[in-house]
């Protein structure tokens, strides 16, 4: 099935118009010796029925667990039915970037609304139309800080998601910046004294995450003024977007950029993507932030309308002097996030509270098991770390029941022996939690 509508007669007439006798003549510019003489070695074409059966078969080789305790950057949340319906409208999903504003008012207005909601939730004045994911959003914030301040040192707390730190390191390496990692404090929050010792006059950005990788909520007010006193910028990240429903926005606590993963807002886990990077900043960076921005304006008759704006920041205008090379973003995922936020409205707070309650219940129950203990005393959102006698065995026991267990923290943090990171969202019932606890007891 090739989806080509041409009949032999169409093709004949078209070749006649062009003045060729065979399609091969269209490829005269490709040197003869490089033209393929036989078909590519690929599996043969399939009918729609066959291909759909094949795709079902492959998907069936995945096992979807009835219960998952895994968070660690990606979260299992209920997605209201309206989200799928809206993003399945093909006027949205089959459109390109809205370069032609007059026939793209739908997505431009939706993105403008998305930007507004993100700005409100993060306590910022500006949010862009999305980045690739939370990790690349954080890396781009670090690069932007370094370029803006003309400094070359990035300071990052070790409690930032390990993969985010890897991405920051890759981007920093390619730009020639130095990355310094500082340890977290005993409570699980960052230790202001340790952190601030690492911040010098060449530090462009301090990166931390709240809730951090251990689920622990950071208190930016403890470090904000000292970071700024050194002239550095404070970048606050997150991986669990629903926490924005209950936590004091980082923008109101002195962050210059708030960056994070928006997956929790209406996007399925999808084995790692697509998700959306949230990128918000203060007014000062309006003309510098990477990515697309939808802005309100008026048409010839004075009617309100929306366009992609401040494009002189971007690669297609500024080329090698652009702040970022980003072109495509994750617009449809941002649309899903917008629909999710509109559907929940003020209930986002209730949902966030429910996450806190579920995680609190699991944490209380599991940490009272013999040989189990909570690792960090600081407050958490919907994830927490526990030490237990044998994490691998715990996960194996759960897997035997089809359950995906916790994240084995020692892999990335050798200093945290026998530690599991568990997540409990609104998707876990009390019965699920009780079952899990009895299984691992």
């Amino acid at each position: 099935m090739d989806y080509v509508p041409h009949t032999p007669e169409d093709q004949r007439q078209m070749m006649e118009q062009i003045g060729i006798r065979s399609v091969a003549e269209l490829f005269v510019d490709i040197p003869e010796q490089y033209q393929l003489k036989k078909l590519m070695n690929l599996p043969p074409a399939l009918s729609e029925q066959e291909v759909f059966t094949l795709m079902k078969d492959i998907s069936a080789r995945n096992a979807i667990p009835p219960i998952t305790l895994m968070g660690a950057g990606v979260y299992h949340h209920y997605i209201p039915a309206v989200v799928g319906h809206v993003i399945s409208r093909s006027e949205f999903y089959t459109a390109y970037t809205p370069y032609q504003a007059e026939i793209s008012q739908g997505i431009l207005q939706a993105i403008y609304e998305y930007q507004t909601m993100i700005a409100k939730l993060t306590g910022m004045q500006v949010a862009n139309a999305s980045m690739y994911d939370g990790a690349s959003a954080m890396a781009e914030a670090a690069v932007l800080a370094a370029k803006t301040l003309n400094r070359t040192r990035i300071v990052m707390v070790r409690s930032v998601h390990p993969e985010y730190r890897q991405v920051v390191r890759t981007y920093s390496w390619s730009n020639g910046y130095e990355v310094v990692e500082v340890p977290y404090g005993k409570s699980g929050q960052c230790d202001p004294d340790v952190l601030l010792k690492a911040v010098d006059e060449n530090t462009a950005a301090v990166l931390l995450q709240s809730p951090n990788f251990f689920g622990v909520i950071e208190d930016l007010s403890l470090i904000e003024s000292a970071v700024h006193a050194k002239g550095a910028l404070l970048v606050s990240g997150f991986t669990e977007a629903t926490s924005l429903g209950i936590l004091r926005p980082a923008g109101l606590m002195g962050a210059d950029f708030v960056v994070g993963e928006g997956q929790s807002f209406g996007n399925p886990m999808n084995y790692g993507g697509p998700y959306l990077g949230i990128f918000a900043g203060t007014d000062k960076f309006l003309r510098k932030i990477p990515g697309r921005l939808a802005g309100a304006t008026v048409d010839r008759e004075g009617k309100r309308g929306f366009v992609l704006t401040l494009q002189t920041r971007e690669q297609h205008i500024r080329r090698e002097r652009a702040t970022s090379n980003i072109c495509s973003n994750e617009a449809l995922c941002a649309l899903a996030a917008a629909v999710y936020l509109v559907s929940l409205g003020k209930n986002l707070r209730k949902l966030a509270e429910l996450n806190v309650q579920k995680a609190h219940y699991l944490r209380q129950k599991i940490s009272t098991l013999k040989g189990w203990e909570v690792v960090f005393p600081a407050p958490v959102y919907n994830e927490f770390t526990v030490r237990c006698p044998n994490p691998q065995k715990v996960n194996q026991k759960l897997q035997a029941e089809g359950i995906i267990g916790g994240y084995e923290v020692e892999k990335e943090y050798p200093e945290l022996k026998n530690t599991l990171l568990f997540c409990a969202t609104e998707m876990l019932t009390k019965d699920d939690i009780d079952k899990v606890v009895s299984l691992v007891a």
């Binding site: 080509v4 509508p5 041409h6 003045g19 060729i20 510019d29 040197p31 393929l36 078909l39 729609e48 795709m55 079902k56 492959i58 069936a60 995945n62 667990p65 990606v74 309206v82 319906h85 809206v86 093909s90 999903y93 459109a95 390109y96 032609q100 007059e102 008012q105 939706a110 690739y132 994911d133 993969e163 890897q166 890759t170 007010s221 429903g245 936590l247 004091r248 886990m269 999808n270 084995y271 790692g272 993507g273 921005l293 008026v298 009617k303 309100r304 500024r318 080329r319 090698e320 090379n325 495509s328 994750e330 449809l332 995922c333 986002l348 309650q357 219940y361 407050p379 897997q399 995906i404």
Partner: protein, 486 residues
């Protein structure tokens, strides 16, 4: 049309949240009050209001399913629905990326095989699927080259980019710390060989070539270009944005190309979603495989697994493994078409572009009059001279006739450029109707230029004030209010 915030009424809500079934504890006893917000400021609407809001917005949007979309360089082909249905299967959507590999054999198999298929189609040693979009793939590809030289202990500081390249190319090069040097195009739209020879030194890491180039022309001197770059120890990078032109016809790997990034959301028909999600796999030759991002899917005796052991790798360019759900669509597409189907795609994409070129040639100036590949580039110079009608006016007039306009003012080396990429999924009738419309607009430009300059007349809003948007930026509601409601 009202904003969702303007439709908000206190007390309304669309989605309900279950009651807690665990013993409730006071929030402030778990999280210090100083770390909690007061309330969330989000719109309050009923479900029906939400659905009508977004349905009305969708009616103010234009996708491939609405009409012909010859946006050059963007490959807006039809997106088969079976791909979408496959990608919605819960077996793909509901899996956590940290699921143990015994839970994710299907996803791993799909990624492993997709890499094999892409390697075969493009003649590369291997592909990395992690980059989230084309520009992200470019950045990754250039990082791979940078890492190669770093490991060899060689310091190269420059990268060469033709003047016709996409803006992402120089931006990607600069993000890797390279000084970007521009190579001129020759009178045929290809690389100026003498200029390339002059610039290509041992300080140059490589040349970022787009082939077919942004004029829709195949680089005839590709062999020579590759030799000049390779003789100085550099790499030949190919921006694969235009890969729809040569599948099954030739392989970049055979042409001396060392690195190529693809755009699955172009060539492999995964929809663009108003600008994303895309997916930008990077293919490399044998020498560069060790530098690709981690982790990589491997096939072991017991099944598929993730391999994180790659000491020379550039590291990660994003979290997890890439835009997996987009890969499901591309995989479905490749399996539907098979080797002959993919070849037919490129043949017809090129046939369609040449047909449009021949039909419009008498009415618009052609930038370079020779056989083109999957797209053709015109210039609106004649219309400007005759009647003061610019390419932007022609584009806006097309909106009135129900078309998405071609890409305009790109490539930068063609004045008043009109870049048309018709794609293989469009029938002769569709192309004929579009050409008739373009011819009609050329006539209107001569006879009634003010009509064309005042377009669009039929869209929900008239031409929008970009200057105002940039001078008085309003990117967040509640701060500034521009204009009357629509």
């Amino acid at each position: 049309m009202d904003l969702i915030f303007e439709k908000s009424r206190p007390g309304r809500v669309a989605a309900s949240v279950p009651k807690s079934d665990v013993p409730e504890v006071a929030m402030e006893s778990i999280i210090d009050k100083s770390l909690l917000n007061e309330e969330v400021d989000l719109p309050e609407v009923a479900e029906v209001d939400l659905i009508r809001h977004y349905t009305q917005l969708s009616k103010r949007n234009f996708g491939v399913d609405v009409g012909f979309y010859p946006l050059g360089s963007c490959t807006m082909k039809y997106n088969p629905k079976v791909n979408e249905e496959a990608a919605k299967l819960p077996g793909y959507t509901a899996l956590h990326p940290y699921a143990p590999v015994q839970f994710s054999q299907g996803s791993l198999q799909l990624m492993y095989e997709l890499r094999q298929y892409l390697s075969e189609i493009f003649g590369m040693a291997d592909f990395a699927l992690q980059p989230a979009a084309g520009a992200h793939g470019e950045l990754t590809g250039i990082m791979v080259i940078k890492k190669f030289f770093e490991k060899k202990g060689e310091k190269r500081t420059q990268i060469l980019i033709p003047d016709a390249a996409h803006g992402t190319n120089p931006a990607s090069g600069a993000l890797c710390g390279y000084q970007v040097i521009t190579v001129r195009s020759n009178t045929e739209g290809g690389v100026d060989i003498d200029h390339l020879r002059e610039l290509m030194t041992e300080s140059v890491a490589g040349l970022m070539l787009t082939n077919p180039n942004t004029l829709g022309l195949f680089e005839r001197n590709i062999e020579q270009v590759a030799k000049i770059v390779h003789d100085k120890g550099g790499f030949l990078y190919c921006d694969g944005a235009n890969a729809n032109a040569f599948m099954g016809i030739t392989k970049p790997g055979n042409l001396g190309i060392d690195v190529i990034q693809l755009n699955l959301h172009k060539t492999f028909s995964t929809p663009h979603g108003c600008g994303g999600p895309g997916s930008g796999p990077v293919g490399v030759g044998k020498d560069l495989v060790p530098y690709l991002p981690v982790p990589r899917v491997v096939k072991r005796e017991k099944g598929y697994d993730w391999d994180y052991n790659s000491p020379d790798s550039i590291g990660r360019v994003r979290a997890f493994y890439g835009n997996f759900n987009v890969m499901v669509k591309a995989y479905t597409y490749i399996r539907s078409l098979g080797p002959d189907g993919l070849q037919r795609v490129s043949e017809v994409a090129v046939l369609n572009a040449n047909y449009v070129k021949e039909r419009l040639k008498p009415y618009y100036d052609i930038a370079y009059d020779r056989i083109c590949m999957h797209e053709c580039v015109f210039s609106g110079k004649r219309q400007v001279k005759e009647s003061g009608v610019h390419t932007s006016d022609i584009a806006k007039r097309l909106l009135d006739y129900g078309y998405h306009p071609p890409t305009i003012y790109f490539p930068l080396i063609v004045p008043e450029a009109i870049m048309i990429e018709p794609n293989e999924t469009e029938s002769k009738e569709t192309l004929d109707a579009f050409c008739e419309t373009m011819i009609k607009i050329a006539k209107e430009a001569r006879e009634n230029p003010d009509l064309v300059k005042s377009a669009p007349l039929t869209t929900p809003v008239r031409r929008l004030d970009d200057v105002k948007a940039a001078r008085e930026p309003d990117v967040c509601w509640g701060k500034a209010h521009a204009g009357k409601k629509v």
